[in-house]
Symmetry: C2
Subunit: 329 residues, 2 copies
């Protein structure tokens, strides 16, 4: 009998690197993590990564075979196999991680950003199984997106397609992390709703427990808890966030007409508080022929496993594609 095939999924975050071996059905066989130490040069980081992988590999049973490596990383370019000057990793310039990993492990490797990897995780193992057209949106510190059209991630000509966090809500709006004004993620993300709370506390006099919390201490969970207790500022912050997200989703639906939009991460965990206003405003804004055609769904990947499932989904998807097109892998 042939060996059981596994993929290695690696998610490189600014704080933590998480990695694990995953089978074709999305079962994580073993998983581990270590601190990324974002200030390290890549020549210091890589030996630590290799050692950690080698150590975890000793836990695999003998009748298994690792057939590919999927990597989720910031500023990753799928076409070039590179990580390119991410602001939150001091690796030094443009690093061809795919080439390095393929040389080291002699198996195919693929890289993309974490939102695209999450979308492929949903496609392979989560809420988007059997879908051909959907959008995955991560609502964390920022807003990331992975867009699937005709069963594949849209990379576009540049390799960087699917950056909905930088859609312009208002050209004279809030300053964004990239220096521009009015980007969607300056409104719709954990950071964004925190800024919205500050604005509402400035604009209104209604009493709110959030007046007792500094902006720096304000988490998505804290705002959610206040909203669940009926705090008017917290409720209005979710309404405003859902309005802006819903309106921009309505624009995006005109472009790719997805079957579903899947929300993942920090803010998505507020469930109905964010889903209800988002869906209402999206439907209200949608152009007639698209009304009622799009499901708004919760991610079906467990938060703690999503990064590794996404990265392994990326390589499983790639291997499936190559097998289908008859390409040698």
């Amino acid at each position: 009998m042939s060996k059981k095939e596994l993929a290695l999924g690696i998610d490189i975050g600014g704080t933590t690197t998480t990695f694990g071996f995953v089978d074709h059905d999305g079962n994580i066989i073993v998983e581990s993590q270590f601190l990324t130490h974002a200030e390290d040069h890549v020549t210091t980081y890589l030996p630590r990564l290799y050692d950690a992988i080698d150590e975890l590999m000793t836990q695999l049973e003998e009748d298994t075979s690792v057939v590919g490596i999927g990597i989720g990383a910031p500023n990753a370019n799928y076409f070039r196999g590179t990580v390119e000057n991410p602001p939150n990793l001091k690796w030094g310039g443009v690093i061809n991680l795919v080439e390095l990993m393929e040389k080291k492990y002699k198996i195919p490797a693929v890289i993309t950003n974490d939102a695209n990897a999450a979308a492929l995780g949903e496609l392979k193992f989560g809420a988007a199984r059997n879908m051909k057209n959907f959008i995955l949106i991560t609502l964390g510190t920022g807003l990331g997106s992975g867009i699937v059209v005709n069963g594949d991630i849209v990379y576009g000509h540049s390799g960087f397609a699917g950056e909905m966090g930088h859609l312009i809500v208002n050209p004279e709006g809030r300053i964004c992390g990239d220096g521009r004004r009015g980007c969607l993620e300056a409104y719709v993300s954990v950071t964004g709703i925190r800024r919205t709370v500050s604005k509402l506390l400035a604009d209104y006099l209604v009493s709110s427990e959030l007046r007792e919390v500094s902006q720096a201490e304000l988490t998505g969970e804290r705002i959610t808890q206040a909203a669940l207790k009926g705090d008017k500022i917290a409720l209005e912050a979710f309404e405003y966030t859902g309005q802006i997200l819903g309106q921009k989703l309505a624009d995006t639906v005109l472009i790719t007409s997805p079957e579903a939009i899947i929300l993942f991460g920090g803010l998505a965990n507020a469930k109905d508080l964010i889903f209800e206003p988002t869906l209402r405003h999206m439907e209200h804004t949608l152009f007639g022929p698209f009304k009622g055609t799009v499901k708004l769904m919760m991610s079906e990947l467990q938060s703690q496993n999503a990064a590794v499932l996404g990265a392994s989904g990326l390589i499983w998807h790639e291997l499936d594609k190559r097998a289908k097109s008859g390409e040698q892998v």
Copy 2:
């Protein structure tokens, strides 16, 4: 020797139906047209269409073979093969034109809207030859768009993807033909720039030859002529139109990251008057990684042939796809 293969391309407009036989290289062998008579029921229209096709077919040489039919029509659904309640054709409900044509002529037929057909015309025979990712925008009475990702039109889950004319510029903006407010085509189209001229004539006192023309008489050409003579209102109307188009294109680039955006139709013929401000505002608005990655191009299809080339491009593209995937046609 095998017979020379031809496709039949049919473009059904509210005023005119244009059709012709086109070879695989985009040469129109013969072409004809007749008045659509939009007020006719489809049961009256179809016999006229069949007669016109049959008559034109007698002009084909004997060593030719017609292998497929491509149809561009309003409110067409590629998946269902239907024309669905177009506001400008009184055909009566949902008509499965693909089924009717395949039954009549015993060859494969495909249908889509005119902007998607135009995009496939550019892909097969025009400015987008060899491109995998681009957007075609038609600037006529309204604004239509066809979006190509990974070498194929994006139809999306609903079959209606690529409706950029209804992107929202401003939720409190101009009333659009569909009753909503602030749609892109209420600003960026021949109709849109005409409305912009009226607004500028209201807002400013500067002298302008356009004060002598009624809104109903104001054509894209008339505004272009005035702008070329330095008329300040006409120039400002192009600047404003380019600003709004450029800003919305910058949003769209974040979604699909095209190699090029191709402009076609009435307003596009104003050339630099519309291209220069559009490109300038798009580049100004674009998120950093996308700056300089997108070409803004003029359509390479001649206006008078574009409709038939687009419709035949649709069926040639479909036949190529089916041959590639090994499907029986």
